[in-house]
């Protein structure tokens, strides 16, 4: 399964592979007393069947709000003001709340950073999974229960028959995240949205969970949108990566291409600002890390022009005036920067 040239042109299929989730020009704004917060401001991306898409960015870049928008779980004062969200061609934003409920959990599932908050503390695990299954698949109680045990086995929870009778607080963080994955996959969704699924976990447990997610993806053919701030995680798990900054998409490419030749200064900044374990062997004394000066601008009053310009070392007058278009710079490689050519040179120079 290779998706090397996945983004040739918009349409229902890319290279014969179906687009299961398609987000087009999504805008989700929060109307607060202090002004409008443009949390997501014109974001488009898609995921192909069986693909893992990484969405990378720092806190407040809009990556989680985009995922919540897909499930239409945006609470007041937030509102999806524009855009289309298509699951197999159906626009979710035109559905009734009733229809939407049958989509959630069935066609799209989501797992969150802190599994404890998304599990009901007073119900046994078996009951929680079985209820999801009964609701969406109309199985009998007995069958749903059997399926719960089967799902727990699938996510490799030891002694699943005994564990279904346990409560969430009796499990460790890693185990809870496995249960969340079991619940999310129990109705064979087309897309799994994973919002920082391993951020709260230790590295050795993170490795287990990521390994499990990829294995299940192969087995069940579910497409995964992996939302994270960790470049290491996306590099090891994703085929294609979207980089977001201040509510906008700034770069999109295949994983190999992005790490080989980043074309947006923000992506470069992210890559150079993290200490690299794989270079530990080659350097005795590491120098300074590259810094991205300043901080993420307030989404309430964004600078005119490129949102990254105030922190960017490549910024010119034009960057501060005009918003750069998100356009293809190389085959399958998109970026929103006027100076992509220079960025590519500097990164390797």
């Amino acid at each position: 399964m290779t998706q090397a040239q996945t983004m040739e042109r918009p349409g229902q299929t890319v290279g014969g592979v179906e687009k299961v989730l398609e987000i087009e020009d999504l805008k989700t704004h929060f109307f607060t007393r202090d002004g409008v917060v443009r949390a997501v401001d014109g974001v488009s991306y898609h995921v192909l069947k069986g693909e893992t898409l990484g969405v990378v960015g720092e806190s407040g870049c809009g990556k989680s709000v985009t995922a919540l928008s897909v499930l239409r779980l945006i609470a007041k004062p937030g509102r999806i003001v524009q855009g289309k969200i298509k699951i197999s061609g159906r626009n979710l934003l035109e559905l009734s709340e009733e229809e939407m409920r049958s989509i959630r959990g069935n066609d799209i599932s989501m797992i969150f950073q802190e599994p404890m908050t998304s599990l009901n503390p007073v119900l046994t695990l078996g009951r929680q999974i079985a209820e999801t299954i009964m609701l969406h698949q109309g199985l009998s109680k007995k069958d749903a229960w059997d399926k719960s045990v089967e799902m727990l086995k699938l996510v490799r929870i030891p002694e699943a028959e005994r564990r279904v009778h346990e409560y969430p607080f009796q499990m460790s963080g890693g185990m809870r995240q496995r249960v969340m994955i079991a619940m999310a996959l129990s109705c064979n969704p087309k897309v799994l949205l994973a919002d920082e699924p391993t951020t709260a976990l230790d590295v050795t447990i993170q490795a287990q969970i990521l390994h499990l997610m990829l294995e299940l993806k192969e087995k069940l053919g579910t497409a995964i949108v992996l939302i994270t701030h960790d470049l290491g995680v996306v590099a090891e798990t994703c085929q294609r990566i979207v980089v977001m900054y201040a509510g906008k998409k700034v770069e999109e490419a295949t994983a190999d291409e992005l790490f080989e030749r980043p074309l947006h200064p923000y992506t470069v900044g992210l890559m150079k600002s993290i200490p690299r374990l794989d270079r530990a062997a080659t350097t005795e004394h590491p120098g300074r890390l590259m810094e991205i000066p300043g901080m993420v601008p307030s989404l309430k009053n964004m600078p005119p022009g490129c949102a990254f310009a105030p922190r960017c070392s490549f910024a010119t007058e034009r960057c501060r005036r005009e918003v750069p278009a998100f356009e293809m710079k190389a085959s399958g490689h998109y970026s929103a920067c006027f100076n992509s050519d220079k960025v590519a040179e500097i990164y390797h120079g």
């Binding site: 007393r33 120098g287 300074r288 810094e291 000066p293 300043g294 901080m295 601008p297 307030s298 009053n301 105030p310 922190r311």
Partner: protein, 295 residues
């Protein structure tokens, strides 16, 4: 490796003029403004009572007994011909003195005991048992007992109401202190060598103040009501000092023929309590936005 300081880019907002800050606060917290203006009105009435009501609140005029409200007597007269308006205006003094004294006294004493109890764990158990005992004493009984032992006076009323309020403040303060002492900034204060008393005064006390101020307003409102209740029962302010409770108590036998003796002091009492409660609610919302959202 060079030691350079990275440039910090941020947008410095120009300082806002004071009028702008006041305006924004008022727009966000209309209840605080409404409650505090009502209360301020009451305080002005109480302080300048002789200006609002030039007459003598104790002057008897048997010839003009039980007159209904009219131009000369706005709120009518009572069974001794005393002007209800004058008495009500002077009554505001007692209510506010009692309310403010009780809330101030119980807050100060309660804050002190609560801080120690919450921060010094060894004395906590003892203090809290004493507080439980105090809490069990009803204010009204205490007031009656004190009156029987000494004589009816405003001071006794204040003490009688204050004592059962103290444990409530202590519990609140202790709870907040227990929460704050677990905060990393307290640990940080210790690690930079801050002395015990300074940790208590500089780091814990200021963070306890917000809930305490809110609690003080509720105690004030409660004290005003309890004072009226005690006086109504004859266990409060002595009859020679007009208080809203006294006036209403005296007027209760004439309620069917002279409702105004009870209506006007009752109205003032309600407005005062409402004003204080509005102020308290508003302050709670303004000082603790998280709490406001939960309510």
């Amino acid at each position: 490796m060079t030691a350079t300081t990275p440039a910090i880019i941020d947008i410095i907002e120009p300082p806002k003029p004071l009028s702008r800050i006041v305006y924004e606060f008022a727009r966000r917290n209309p209840t605080v403004i409404f409650g505090s203006s009502l209360l301020l009105g009451m305080v002005i009435i109480a302080i300048f009572a002789p200006l609002f009501a030039p007459g003598d609140p104790l002057a008897l005029a048997p010839a003009r007994r039980l007159r209904p409200p009219q131009e000369a007597y706005w709120f009518g007269t009572d069974m001794f011909g005393r002007d209800v308006y004058t008495r009500t205006i002077y009554g505001a003094r007692i209510s506010l003195i009692v309310g403010i004294s009780v809330s101030a006294l119980s807050t100060i004493v309660g804050l002190f005991i609560g801080l120690l109890s919450g921060y010094v764990r060894i004395i906590d158990a003892i203090i809290m048992r004493i507080m439980d005992g105090l809490m069990a004493i009803p204010g009204i009984l205490l007031a009656i007992a004190m009156m029987a032992l000494t004589k009816a006076s405003v001071e006794n009323v204040i003490i009688a109401i204050t004592i059962p309020e103290i444990p409530r403040v202590v519990r609140l303060v202790r709870g907040v202190v227990l929460q704050i002492r677990e905060q990393p900034y307290i640990e940080a204060a210790q690690s930079i060598g801050t002395r015990f008393h300074r940790v208590l005064l500089k780091h814990i006390l200021p963070n306890v103040m917000a809930p305490i101020i809110v609690q003080a307003t509720y105690i004030c409102a409660a004290a005003v009501l309890i004072e009226a209740g005690l006086s109504f029962l004859g266990a409060g302010t002595p009859p020679n000092i007009p208080s809203w409770g006294n006036i209403m108590a005296e007027g209760r036998t004439f309620f069917q023929i002279a409702f105004w003796i009870i209506l006007f002091p009752g109205l003032f009492l309600s407005v005062t309590v409402l004003a204080i409660n509005l102020l308290g609610d508003g302050l709670r919302d303004a000082l603790d936005p998280r709490l406001a959202r939960r309510m």
